[in-house]
Amino acid sequence: MARGKNQNIVRWLSIGKDEAEYNEKLRKYEVDIYKNFYSCFFPQFASDPNADWLENIKKSGIYTCGTIAQVREEWKKMYEEVPAEYITLIFHYAQQPKDDVIKTIEQFMTQVWPHLESAE
């Protein structure tokens, strides 16, 4: 079986026009649930209580966040190693408003996804 076949990579996704914007999105949409919920269940994800929770999220390894260019490069690198048949993108709608969820999906589908090839 080709590497990547029957594999599904899951990522929480946050895209901003610059660092300030995607940081702001992470703060508004992700810090609450990451700090109070995910970090309680998953000790393997970064959860230093003395650190900025934004940095914990970025170190967790389960978020891809950045500008479009950064997110695209990250996914392209992932796909050079594991061209997974499936990608699952997680959103905390409605903490993240509908319009921003739709915009993020559109950015991924038009500016990241076309650059990815998976196993047959």
Binding site: Q7, E81, V101, S118
Partner: protein, 269 residues
């Protein structure tokens, strides 16, 4: 080469400005106006995603989060609704928490959704890591949540998960089954079968062969309907760090779904 199939997984989180507001407005999970707005507006996201070529829409099974995190106790109900509202997207869940589910009910519900979607359906299965509700809803077989730590609860949770998944596969693919497990049996009680069933004659004469014995007891069961897809809908299994889960998927032909860091995925894939 092909394009990856993209699935949008929504964890419905009822919104608050911040942690303080979540506390001030508690319990957000019980806010009926907010939930009603969210569950309907959610569809607009999926319809927009469908137009963009997104392959699938999924959600989770989580219960009892009164603080408003991940309000998603029944993915099947949502899948069934989306089935009628979406034209090309696949629908599914990532996934049914088998430690807290009856395997016959999962087989039935997923078969129906498979028919409603005419095969645009995938079934995700998970072991259950949130004790708040896994330990309650799994009480009938003393199921417990797992933290994938190799401990006693983890092993028991895995035993129950694998037993129920095997039962689910059997219910989907075989015309009749006997579910003879450590944690679940059917017919029940297994030793005698179901005695005293009043309509046993027509079950014997028109039901699946072998269900009814010479004394009219139900000795095998037949899950109806059978799924639309043959042999069954594709199965995805969630994993955050367990190598055993990945090996299990490989043995069964399931799709492992990596909720893990890139290093974890590289090692396990």
């Amino acid at each position: 080469m092909a394009k990856p199939k993209v699935i949008i997984q929504i964890y419905p989180m009822l919104p608050a400005e911040d942690e303080k507001e979540r506390m001030a407005k508690r319990p957000l999970g019980r806010n009926r106006e907010l939930y009603n707005h969210v569950v309907h507006e959610w569809l607009e996201i999926l319809q927009a995603a469908e137009k963009m070529g997104v392959w699938g829409a999924a959600t989770i099974e989580h219960h009892l989060h009164s603080e408003g995190y991940e309000v998603g106790p029944n993915p099947g109900v949502l899948n069934a609704w989306w089935a009628g509202q979406l034209k090309t997207m696949h629908v599914g869940a990532l996934g049914y928490v088998m430690a807290a589910q009856d395997p016959i009910r999962v087989a039935e519900e997923t078969a129906i959704i498979d028919h409603l979607t005419k095969g645009r359906f995938f079934v995700g299965l998970a072991r259950g890591y949130q004790s708040r509700w896994t330990n309650i809803l799994g009480q009938f077989s003393q199921s417990v949540a797992t933290s994938s730590d190799g401990g006693a609860d983890d092993k028991k949770n895995r035993d129950i998960f694998e037993e129920r998944v095997d039962m689910l596969l059997a219910c989907w693919t075989q015309d009749s089954v006997v579910l003879d497990g450590k944690y679940y049996q059917a017919p029940y009680p297994l030793k005698t079968g179901v005695e005293g069933y009043q309509a046993w004659k027509i079950a014997r004469d028109a039901g699946t062969h072998g269900e009814v014995d010479e004394n009219g007891a139900i000795r095998r069961i037949s899950i109806v309907p059978s799924p639309y897809q043959r042999p069954h809908p594709p199965v995805f299994v969630a994993s955050s760090k367990s190598d055993d889960s990945i090996r299990y998927c490989a043995r069964k032909g399931f799709t492992p779904t990596y909720f893990s860091s890139w290093e974890g995925i590289l090692r396990q894939s």
